[in-house]
């Protein structure tokens, strides 16, 4: 058994929208999608990284009260959550592929620090850096 981090949570404004984004536009896979009443536990993962999942959840009940949920939704929408980093083999190729699928890029690929990086956001406002792996 390998010990380590298995799931990291990511607040999104709508689980269906987030699922479509991460699966159809980024090429992730659904790992778990189960419901218990109104609660939906949804996780996705990168196809090359089966030991790690991103848990996509909407801030709200039963975990959070209405005011806290509203505040968190505002923070996510304002881009206030910490950025995530996606490592890719070829940043320019990934950028072209993702842009064709309608991903909202906030930064075109730039050559710097000996690699290439770009930036994009998910529909909720979560910011991603996409960095080409050094060879």
């Amino acid at each position: 058994m390998i010990q380590g981090i298995e799931v990291v949570g990511l607040y999104v404004r709508d689980q269906d929208e987030a699922l479509a984004f991460y699966v159809d536009k980024l090429g992730f896979r659904v790992h778990t999608d189960v419901r218990n009443g109104d609660y939906r536990w949804l996780t996705v993962q990168h196809p090359d990284q089966p030991s790690f999942q991103l848990g996509l959840s909407v801030p709200g009940p039963p975990v959070l009260d209405a005011d806290t949920a509203q505040a968190l939704r505002a923070i996510v929408a304002k881009g206030g959550m910490p950025p995530l980093v996606l490592k890719v083999d070829d940043c320019r190729a990934a950028h072209a592929r993702m842009q064709a699928r309608g991903v909202e890029f906030t930064q075109e690929p730039i050559d710097r620090y000996g690699t290439v990086d770009a930036g994009f956001r998910d529909p909720s406002g979560n910011g991603w850096k996409m960095i080409e792996a050094r060879r």
Partner: protein, 164 residues
């Protein structure tokens, strides 16, 4: 304007306002009149500036200026580009406006900042690292206990001398 607390903003609106902020971040050297920003956010021109300020705590115009100054500061520190070129590259149409705004925001002129940044980096750089570490070493060539004893002796000696 009253000081009444503003009602919370709709997250959908905030997400669209973020798009305007992202676009300024990506191209702060470009001109960003309110109509252009409002169109990016799909908000009326009349509401844009107020909504942006409520969301991000600073009016859009000032946000753009700070991003330009931030970029100019980096270019002054990290490159050899002439100040005129930095002014145009970061979006100013005149060197005078650039210098004035730069001073207003940072408290010093672009050339003063460049000179200070260089001095801060280069002065230690000229001294070889081994010499530098020796120079910064605390002046402690004997054991602490020995140093204390000598100091105590010195006090006693001087005390003794004062007594005939």
């Amino acid at each position: 304007m009253s000081d009444l607390p503003l009602p919370p903003q709709d997250p959908e609106l905030l997400r669209r306002l973020l798009r305007a902020k992202d676009r300024m971040d990506a191209a702060s050297h470009e001109a960003w009149p309110v109509q252009r920003l409002a169109a990016v956010s799909d908000v009326s021109e009349a509401h844009f500036a107020r909504s942006f300020k409520q969301a991000f705590g600073t009016p859009p115009h000032r946000y753009l200026l700070t991003r330009r100054i931030e970029r100019a500061t980096a270019l002054l520190r990290e490159t050899e580009l002439p100040i005129t070129e930095i002014a145009f590259e970061t979006g100013w149409e005149s060197l005078g406006t650039f210098g004035r705004t730069f001073r207003d925001i940072t408290g010093e002129s672009p050339s003063a900042l460049r000179a200070r940044a260089r001095a801060a980096v280069q002065e230690p750089g000229r001294v070889p690292a081994c010499v530098l570490s020796a120079a910064h070493r605390p002046d402690l060539t004997i054991a602490v206990s020995e140093k204390r004893r000598r100091e105590a002796d010195a006090i006693n000696e001087s005390h003794d001398k004062e007594i005939p």
